[in-house]
């Protein structure tokens, strides 16, 4: 059925007009800028100008010293390592939280209006800007912040806890806070579509709750999990604002390096870094889609 539809679409050029609005937006705001970025990444530059050229030095500069390990890891590898670190923990925690929240909403809340209300409540934090949501943590976690005040007054600690703010902990906390919803939504959506009969059948066949989750629900939620994971991972890979603010600007991120290069007008260098970031992000996504064929599952 679906192949038949595709064919008729292709053989009816008139229908192609339907694709024009989105295709042109896609072309103007994605394909062309991306093409330009790739082109500029091969250009030469000085302090005050960029010069059309075809050189690889922007790329070789990024990987300078990366393949001789005498001096330890090079800047690029270190930065990606730190970015992967944030990516992994944010992904793992948002996945766990997102799955649990969605599971609760779908299987434990039986009335649909209540389900929708609770779901909307999850989105409330998104009514404010993400910078505000992030900055709000600072007075809470600081040396003289509320959490430390509480810990001190309860006598749990004697000195204020320093690692609460401007640390890996605070960065991951803020990222999880910002992006858990990106996990909840697609997983929630996948779970809603699971036929309740299948679950009942599993129970009837003698499965316990854990077995139902691992053998029935998780496999059927895979598309939602993968889509949520793609959202979270791509966003965290390019993030520099959260890592900057919550990390006290002391933690490396690829986005921050690109940002600094842009500020110093090293545009071809920034373009080359962006291309590499893009390639790596795409590789990660390809790896994930290898685990599951999203198109088939949708």
């Amino acid at each position: 059925m679906s192949t038949l539809k595709t064919k008729t679409f292709i053989f009816q050029p008139k229908l192609w007009w339907l694709a024009v609005p989105f295709a042109s937006v896609f072309l103007a705001y994605f394909v062309v800028p991306l093409g330009l970025t790739i082109i500029v990444s091969f250009w030469d530059y000085t302090e005050y100008s960029i010069i059309p050229d075809f050189i690889f030095s922007n790329y070789s500069y990024i990987f300078e010293g990366c393949f001789s390990f005498e001096k330890g890891l090079c800047l690029t590898f270190k930065t990606y390592l730190s970015t992967f670190f944030f990516c992994f923990f944010t992904w793992a925690i948002t996945l766990l939280l997102g799955f649990c929240v969605a599971y609760f909403l779908v299987f434990y809340v039986n009335s649909i209006p209540l389900q929708i209300t609770l779901f909307l409540i999850c989105t409330i934090p998104f009514w404010t800007s993400n910078v505000i949501r992030m900055v709000a943590w600072i007075p809470l976690l600081g040396r003289n912040g509320l959490v430390n005040d509480l810990l001190l007054s309860m006598g749990i600690v004697r000195e204020p806890v320093e690692w609460l703010l401007y640390s890996n902990f605070s960065v991951i906390l803020a990222l999880v806070h910002l992006y858990t919803l990106f996990m909840i939504v697609p997983i929630f959506n996948s779970m809603l579509r699971i036929d309740k009969g299948v679950i009942e059948a599993a129970y009837d066949a003698g499965a316990n709750q854990i077995q139902v989750i691992t053998n029935v629900i998780i496999p059927l939620c895979k598309p939602g999990i993968i889509i949520g994971s793609i959202f979270v991972i791509t966003v965290v890979m390019g993030d520099f604002l959260t890592i900057g603010i919550m990390g006290g600007q002391q933690l490396a991120s690829v986005g921050k390096i690109i940002n600094t290069e842009m500020n110093y007008l090293q545009l071809p260098g920034a373009a080359a870094n962006s291309v590499i970031l893009l390639v790596i992000t795409i590789l990660v996504i390809i790896m994930m889609t290898k685990l599951i064929d999203i198109r088939k599952e949708l």
């Binding site: 302090e47 005050y48 100008s49 800047l75 270190k78 930065t79 730190s82 600072i138 007075p139 600081g142 040396r143 003289n144 912040g145 320093e162 703010l165 401007y166 900057g244 603010i245 006290g248 600007q249 002391q250 933690l251 490396a252 921050k256 390096i257 600094t260 290069e261 842009m262 500020n263 110093y264 007008l265 090293q266």
Partner: protein
């Protein structure tokens, strides 16, 4: 056209109006296109420090000029000048950006003969000495080294005085470390204190490489690790050395945070997360206004100075260019100077600004005297009580104590990379 009506109106008007405004009436009557068009609005590209609402209001009252202010960050100003020189009529930028801007040919030299107060511009800019003749440190991109162009369209700096200035100076200051005296509890007198283990986890510096590296160099020199021939133009080996010392400090947990935004530095200091850090003078004022003790601490090794000024992009011509010169002349005529001085900055033409300040204000801000009465900011907030003195003292003491200027180095690309490595370590 009704020529009869025209002449009656003009005659009647001419009788009423004074000689000064006649010309304007004349143009208005005989050039209808001017009547219909708005008064000239200058597109002014700059950073947020230099142009408040009060300034725009006063400008319109005095000259009839309007300004559309495009406020961006220092780096963004440079980017705009290089990539979109036709998007503004006038730019306010820092001297250390000039080695990037001038070779592009996107800015014109300003004709100093058209600047009324040019001869009164402080000698720090023109000669590199304070008004009383004290030599100012010239390491880095000191304004006196990049003050002139060979011609109005020159792409390189002139060695001698010429008729064309790269920037007409507007605002400048001497920067140092800010401290929380209440949380430190002992005198601080050296840049070396920034890396003193006593302040482990309570120090901060800025994550703007071109400025951060200068503060770092001041610290390294103060620690006695190395004496730079020119802090503002380091060799690769010197950059390595400087960054090595800072990387070690960072790894050992010396810094609570780095900041990129002015407000971040205020929050770090006001909340007590940080007790000593690189800071800018209005940030000190902001911390004080929250009721927290904060000192812009003078240090024995001297200050790191910066300066900004006006430039004309090559695309500004004719009437708009004339209006720009009118605007610049108005800016230097004193009212704005007083406005800047009251915020703790310095104005380029001191004698005109003095006329707009009270004796007490002048004594406090410029001469290092104790205030006789409360000292107020332009917005009316109290900055100091009677009896207090300005941190660092007089203009002569502060500007005379300048050790280096914000700079663009020859090895800028390498420096930015090494800085990023330090942040990543």
């Amino acid at each position: 056209m009704n020529s009869k009506g025209f002449s009656t109106i003009s005659r009647r008007k001419l009788l009423k109006l004074g000689a000064g405004t006649t010309a304007a009436t004349f143009t208005a009557l005989y050039a209808p296109s001017v009547i219909s068009s708005d008064p000239i609005t200058l597109r002014y590209l700059g950073t947020a420090v230099s142009m408040g609402d009060e300034v725009q209001k006063k400008l319109f009252e005095d000259t009839g000029l309007k300004v559309k202010f495009i406020a961006v960050t220092t780096d963004e100003v440079t980017k705009r000048v290089l990539t979109q020189p036709n998007s503004f009529d006038l730019v306010d930028t820092e001297y250390f950006s000039l080695p990037k801007l001038v070779p592009s040919g996107n800015i014109l030299g300003m004709d100093t003969k058209r600047i009324k107060e040019w001869d009164n511009v402080t000698s720090i800019f023109t000669k590199g000495v304070t008004p009383s003749g004290k030599k100012v440190g010239l390491q880095g991109t000191a304004p006196s080294k990049v003050m002139y162009l060979e011609g109005s369209t020159g792409k390189s700096f002139a060695k001698d005085v010429t008729q064309y200035a790269t920037l007409v100076p507007t605002i400048y200051n001497a920067d140092t470390l800010g401290i929380r005296p209440d949380l430190i509890g002992r005198p601080i007198n050296s840049w070396a204190e920034l890396l003193n283990p006593e302040f482990k986890g309570k120090a901060a510096t800025l994550n703007i490489p071109s400025i951060g590296i200068m503060d770092a160099a001041m610290v390294v020199e103060a620690m006695g690790e190395y004496t730079y021939p020119d802090k503002g133009n380091m060799t690769k080996a010197e950059i390595d050395l400087t960054m090595k010392i800072f990387t070690e400090a960072k790894k050992s947990g010396q810094f609570r945070a780095f900041w990129t935004d002015f407000n971040e530095s205020v929050n770090l200091m006001a909340s007590g997360e940080v007790v000593i850090q690189s800071m800018w003078s209005p940030a000190i004022t902001a911390v004080k206004s929250q009721g927290k003790a904060c000192i812009y601490q003078p240090l024995k090794e001297g200050y790191r100075a910066w300066a900004a000024g006006f430039a004309l992009p090559k695309t500004t011509k004719g009437k708009t260019a004339d209006a720009v010169y009118d605007f610049v002349n108005w800016y230097l005529s004193g009212w704005v100077g007083a406005y800047l001085n009251r915020q703790g900055y310095y104005s380029a033409v001191l004698p005109t600004a003095k006329k707009y300040m009270s004796e007490d204000e002048w004594g406090f801000w410029m001469e290092g005297k104790a205030a006789k009465d409360d000292i107020l900011s332009p917005t009316g907030a109290k900055l100091a009580s009677a009896g207090e003195k300005r941190d660092g003292g007089s203009y002569e003491d502060r500007m005379g104590g300048v050790a280096c200027w914000n700079a663009t180095m020859d090895e800028n690309k390498y420096m930015v990379r090494k800085w990023n490595e330090m942040v990543a370590s």
